[in-house]
Symmetry: C2
Subunit: 190 residues, 2 copies
């Protein structure tokens, strides 16, 4: 039944956009009762987030043996999540979440926490390998990774797979450099 | 007259949101003819972007003597731009731009280019000071700076000035570290 709801959501997003779908149209398309959907999701925002961005079962990419390769895989996962949903529907979803603080809090506590757990796992592996002395500021690293991909997709509109993968690798490289760098040489001006 | 259009746009965004304003309502509120608006802006997207995000006259922050301080000021400028417009209207604007490739191209060529020019100026100063050996990948640095602030504002909904300024400083620190770092020690796993 979960798969039917996900498939119905994705079909309707492609056909009608975020604004054009309701719990009723998803229930009808999926061939399930609306109560069945409400048992799984508190509202439209959670349903669409789970069906077309990512659900609560996401996990960190497999351990690749290095922080750089783990972050490259994680950035590719983030890019895939943010392009599973069409950009106009992603914006409609974000607008709907922003307009509803209760839904924003629920999404923060559930979906965003699973993202943070993936970032934490990758950073903790790097600590265990001796690549990092300690887990760095999680909120900043999460924003650097997700924000860069979001900016690229929403502001630069470059969503073909090749440029997106290249950009994911470039961001992973920069963030790896940030986290593993020895202190910079003092600036002559500082 | 420009100031009247900007003031009218901002008032109407606050009252009616992005979806509730038109060239007609802005013209009426500003007390100008619609033709006067169209002489300045090709469409609603450009008008709102210029009035409530940033216009084409933005410049890099004053030279503070170091890359770190320049980036901190630049991140604060970006945060200010992204919070001048209410978050729901920012999302409406981004959705409208995304839905209209011609407007997206115009905004890219005008407004986003002025942002890139500010980033370039800050990076070139650091090259002249000897802090950086060369200007790094401009697209990636622009995405790290704007994307992180965008993610913080749109996904984490933390837009009070103090946390936003602290976050801007944290991101500027991380990006400064990235750009000025000596090569990392080789990872034991690589």
């Amino acid at each position: 039944m979960d798969a039917a709801i996900v498939a119905a959501c994705r079909q309707l997003l492609a056909e009608a956009g975020y604004g054009g779908i309701t719990m009723d149209t998803v229930a009808a398309r999926a061939g399930v009762g609306k109560a069945a959907i409400y048992r799984r999701y508190a509202g439209k925002q959670e349903m669409v987030f789970a069906a077309a961005v990512h659900d609560l079962t996401i996990t960190a990419p497999a351990d690749s043996g290095s922080l750089r390769a783990d972050l490259t895989a994680l950035c590719a996962d983030i890019a895939a999540s943010l392009t599973t949903i069409p950009a106009p529907s992603l914006l409609g979803l974000l607008a709907d979440i922003t307009a509803d603080p209760a839904s924003a809090a629920r999404i923060q506590e559930a979906f965003v926490e699973t993202e943070r757990a993936c970032v934490t796992e990758v950073l903790e592996r790097a600590v265990r390998r001796g690549e990092l002395p300690a887990v760095p500021d999680l909120t900043a690293v999460h924003a650097l990774l997700t924000g860069s991909m979001l900016s690229w997709i929403l502001m630069l509109h470059r969503t073909d797979r090749r440029t997106l993968d290249e950009f994911a690798a470039a961001i992973a490289d920069l963030v790896t450099t940030t986290l593993t760098a020895r202190p910079p040489k003092p600036s002559p001006a500082e």
